[in-house]
């Protein structure tokens, strides 16, 4: 934000000034950057949508906001108007202490809210189905299959079709949607890429699904939003929507790295730690995802997850 630029030849005075400036920076930030910060901050979330799911969610959000103006406005207007007009010192206002009920008024306060809720309920039903995270996204190309495993405090992404895997970096070609199958090898976590789609929990012994896509190549922030211990705040990951060439290069780079995600490597990875840098694995032990799933839930509902869609 307002980082003091490094002075070329720092004298004592400029260094001191720099320190003072740095100390003042947050406060200056409040005053000067609120409008700018405002725009900036919203771009990091669903309002800065960069994919079809987030985009539709944004439209729904704005529609709901517009409807809700009609809910808020009467209350926000009537409360101060009545309170002020009927204040004790206003001797010109009427006083009817024993008036406490009126049928038409009663209709006015029950019926419009009910209508608004019915209208909202229609949108709710429609869009909850339209934006179901399990629903495949419309696309001429087949989705990229990715298996995501929530670990403390990192995410493992396995690409079964390519036979590669990555940690804290989810990459896919921007012209194809992504179909994520998620599980956890630790406590419950919540997978979230704010600019692309909504979140879904990842739970041990069970799978959940999430479909997302990007409009164009870009780099987005992904995160776990469900608190899971001291490394929680560091559990962010990069989401890379790539051109086809870049994606092919990314896969090639993973393969060229020559790292293998075998059970030993996985055990090291699964230990509780913060991952400083993303890792790419050129090959993955077969059925790793399934073995993680079954280990956590022997014999019960491992094969199906718990979702009715399976």
């Amino acid at each position: 934000m307002l980082e003091a630029a490094p002075a070329p030849a720092p004298t004592l005075a400029t260094a001191r000034r720099g320190r003072a400036l740095r100390r003042l920076a947050p406060w200056l930030g409040v005053v000067a950057l609120l409008p700018l910060g405002g725009c900036g901050v919203l771009d990091h979330g669903m309002l800065g949508a960069a994919g079809p799911v987030a985009d539709q969610t944004r439209s729904l959000f704005l529609l709901v906001c517009a409807i809700l103006i009609f809910v808020a406005a009467p209350v926000l207007l009537l409360t101060p108007i009545f309170a002020w007009h009927y204040r004790l010192s206003n001797t010109k206002s009427a006083y009817r202490p024993q008036w406490g009920f009126n049928w038409p008024l009663e209709g006015l306060i029950w019926i419009p809210p009910t209508i608004i809720v019915i209208v909202l309920a229609v949108f709710l039903w429609r869009d909850t189905h339209a934006l179901d995270p399990y629903k495949p996204l419309a696309s001429p190309l087949p989705p990229v299959e990715v298996q995501a495993v929530a670990l403390d405090w990192k995410w493992l992404f396995i690409y079964p079709d390519e036979g590669v895997a990555s940690v804290d970096e989810l990459a896919f070609p921007a012209d194809r949607p992504v179909r994520l199958t998620l599980t956890s090898d630790t406590v419950m976590q919540s997978f979230f890429v704010p600019r692309l789609a909504g979140q879904i929990y990842a739970m041990a012994g069970m799978t959940t699904q999430l479909n997302l896509a990007a409009d164009a190549p870009g780099r987005f922030r992904g995160e776990n939003t469900q608190f899971n211990g001291v490394g929680f705040q560091n559990q962010k990951f990069a989401v890379l929507a790539q051109s086809n060439d870049d994606h092919a290069a990314w896969i090639a780079r993973a393969r060229a790295g020559g790292r293998t995600l075998d059970p030993a490597a996985y055990a090291t990875l699964a230990a509780r730690s913060v991952q400083p840098e993303p890792i790419l694995f050129g090959s993955v032990a077969p059925d790793l995802f399934r073995s993680i799933l079954t280990r956590n839930d022997p014999g019960l509902h491992a094969a199906h997850g718990h979702h009715a869609h399976e």
């Binding site: 934000m1 709901v64 008036w99 909850t128 189905h129 704010p194 789609a197 705040q233």
Partner: protein, 700 residues
């Protein structure tokens, strides 16, 4: 049972590293020093309190007049005092968290992650279980028997036991500051994170037992309040003639009875997982944490209405009293209250829309959630129309009520957004959610509790609170709220995860700094409340309202002296319509001398409550630290007084008619002697608690 055999040793797993001072000595980081300071504060506070009690020779009155008392009024006041103490701690924690976040954008800040996690866990746990619940239970305890013309609650001893169990739980949370650590699993304590595999320490155990004690106390309170309202109403006070606060209290009590047991079950099963290697909620051996999540929110959502409904009752009373007018739509308000009570059991799933249910399940629960907004919206309009053609006075409680209406509606809007699953998917677990529930609970609970405290304080203590400091507190609580939480909506839309100890997005910083300033203002609001109390106690002689009706109000509680006598009513009143005291004043029948006085039988004080509370806390402490003998002694200590009590026959005390008559006569003489005060001067020393009648009607 226990892999390392602690249970049979003298101190269990308690060792020197349990003490934050020792930890800070070995590792003197800012974070540990803050922890040590907080621990030291608890110790110094406790020692200081003991010294003060000894120096002032208050031990005996403390126990005789307060802790062993079964008087519902004293128990109510003790609940509110407990809430005030716990509010102070949890609010300071909130300021510390906001300070940390505003400092920790691409920087470590001052609070380490482990410590930060304990802060948000204790903040939430305290605010819900040991601030909000005691506060509202205290107000209900104090006010409801007076409003229904009763001399006490249905089960006075049970009342004391409920209080002491809650206090025992609160004591455990405080003790965790000085001995050991608290859970890092948040106020909802989701396993498997709170299971033994992920948190083997004492933290979750403190949380489990503190919440268990509180939930038991709450269930018992609910039974007591419901039985009181059903069975102890004075002659003529039909359900449909009860003040609205009684309706909301009744609804809260019903919710307490039905919603709290799932919580007790959830914490008990979690305890079995942790102590006896059961597998209800573990990842392996068939455990399933989703069962916990469902159980918890089966409690958690009705809990929201347990918290909010009493405040709705307070606002109904306050707005009606300070508009000098009948409540608009009394019957629809009562119906809306009960509708909310029923609907509150049908929406719990909206706390985890993101768990992967099918779209139809999510949509059904989303629509159920929005349905609750209809009766809630109706209530808002009832209060607005109560002011219509009234005579509104802007006293501090009324200002809180007005701020509530406006602020609560904004929280309701974001609530509707969150009820829509696709929108929930993108703001769930972010600070948008944090902003939303604070936007409901600060106006919808805290403003209500503060308004109720200021409104009924003159009744309870016989003098009014300072209006000036009340308004200062109002300004701080309201502006502080907007500054602290509006930025969180923005940040949440920007994808900022809740419970983050550090942040890596420079764009968040300005908003976090504003939020931190808001938190400081909220703390100033609390300080203003304490200053108000201090100033008012100091100037009490100038603000006395002995006649007992300082606000020209309408319910039976205002028809007796302030403070009310131990027996509340010298003769049990008879009621023939809603707002009985208003109509008595209107017909010139107030302050009449009763034809005859009778002996009054009141419950004697009892040691059972404090003993049960202490034993329960000791048992829980033993369980937390795996101290076998202490758990056993504590467990027996809970039951021995209860069993012994059943053999005690001498549990009543009779107040002779002559004594009642003397006190009553003194009060009535004063009521006839003092000068009635008009509403324009109700905040002046001239207000001795006798209201000058208003004209019945004025046309504009």
């Amino acid at each position: 049972m226990n892999e390392d055999g602690h249970w049979l040793t003298l101190l269990g797993r308690l060792d020197l590293h349990a003490f934050p001072l020792v930890r800070a000595w070995e590792d003197p980081t800012v974070s540990e020093l803050i922890g040590a300071f907080a621990g030291a504060l608890v110790v110094v506070g406790a020692v200081g309190l003991v010294a003060l009690l000894t120096w002032k020779r208050w031990w005996r009155p403390l126990f005789r007049d307060w802790l062993t008392s079964l008087d519902h009024k004293k128990i109510g006041i003790m609940y509110v005092v407990l809430a005030g103490v716990m509010l102070s701690r949890a609010l300071v924690e909130a300021v510390l968290m906001r300070a940390q976040q505003s400092l920790a954008v691409d920087a470590p800040g001052i609070v380490a992650p482990e410590h930060f996690a304990q802060l948000f866990s204790t903040h939430g746990t305290i605010m819900i279980f040991f601030m909000a619940m005691p506060f509202l239970t205290g107000l209900i305890n104090y006010v409801v028997p007076l409003q229904i013309g009763a001399r006490d609650v249905a089960f006075p001893l049970l009342n004391s036991i409920s209080l002491m169990l809650t206090a025992g739980g609160a004591g455990l949370v405080m003790l965790s500051l000085a001995v050991g650590e608290f859970s890092t699993g948040g106020w909802s304590g989701y396993p498997p994170y709170t299971g033994k595999a992920f948190q083997p320490g004492v933290g979750p155990d403190y949380w489990i037992w503190a919440v268990t004690l509180a939930s038991l106390g709450t269930t018992l309170s609910g039974i007591n309040i419901a039985a009181t309202i059903y069975k102890k109403r004075c002659p003529g006070l039909h359900l449909t003639r009860m003040p609205l606060f009684c309706w909301t209290s009744l609804c809260t009590a019903i919710l307490m009875i039905f919603a709290t047991p799932p919580l007790t079950v959830a914490t008990a099963l979690l305890a079995l997982d942790r102590y006896l290697d059961f597998h209800f909620f573990t990842n392996d051996l068939g455990g399933n944490m989703m069962n916990y999540v469902n159980l918890f929110w089966l409690f958690g959502h009705p809990e929201v209405y347990i918290l909010i409904l009493p405040a709705f009752g307070v606002f109904s009373e306050v707005i009606s009293a300070f508009s000098s007018k009948e409540l608009y739509g009394y019957k629809s308000l009562a119906a809306a209250t009960m509708a909310i009570g029923v609907l509150s059991f049908t929406v719990w799933l909206h706390h985890f829309f993101t768990m992967g249910q099918s779209a139809s399940v999510n949509a059904a629960f989303g629509i159920a959630t929005m349905t609750i907004s209809i009766p809630t919206g109706v209530k808002i309009y009832n209060w607005i129309w109560t002011m219509f053609r009234g005579e509104v006075r802007f006293t501090a409680p009324m200002l809180f009520a007005l701020a509530f209406i406006v602020t609560f509606v904004l929280g309701g809007l974001t609530g509707i957004m969150l009820a829509i699953p696709p929108i929930d998917y993108v703001v769930h677990n972010t600070v948008f959610l944090v902003a939303h529930f604070h936007n409901m609970l600060i106006p919808g609970l805290l403003y209500g509790m503060i308004a109720g405290y200021m409104y009924w304080f003159p009744k309870a203590f016989g003098f009014r609170l300072s209006e000036v400091w009340g308004k200062v507190a109002f300004a701080c609580w309201v502006s502080g709220f907007y500054l602290a939480f509006m930025p969180l909506y923005v940040l949440g839309l920007g994808g900022m995860a809740r419970r983050s100890q550090a942040l890596f997005e420079p764009d968040y910083r300005p908003w976090l700094i504003v939020a931190a300033c808001g938190a400081v203002l909220l703390l100033s609001g609390l300080v203003s409340l304490f200053v108000q109390l201090f100033v008012s106690v100091r100037d009490r002689d100038a603000n006395r309202v002995p006649v007992g009706d300082p606000w020209d109000a309408r319910g039976l509680e205002w028809s007796v002296a302030a403070p009310p006598p131990e027996y509340n009513f010298a003769t049990i009143p008879r009621v023939d319509r809603l707002d009985p005291f208003y109509w008595r004043k209107e017909r010139g029948e107030a302050y009449r001398t009763p034809s005859r006085y009778e002996d009054i039988v009141m419950p004697k004080e009892s040691w059972v409550g404090p003993l049960v509370g202490l034993a329960a806390a000791a048992c829980a402490f033993g369980l937390v630290w795996h101290i076998g003998w202490l758990s056993l002694v504590g467990f027996l200590g809970i039951w021995i007084p209860v069993v012994a009590r059943s053999f005690v026959r001498d549990i009543h005390r009779t107040i002779p008619a002559a004594e009642v008559e003397a006190a009553e006569r003194l009060w009535l003489e004063r009521a006839h002697r003092v000068r009635p005060v008009p509403r324009e001067r109700e905040t002046e020393p001239a207000n001795l608690g006798l209201a000058r009648p208003f004209p019945s009607e004025v046309t504009a």
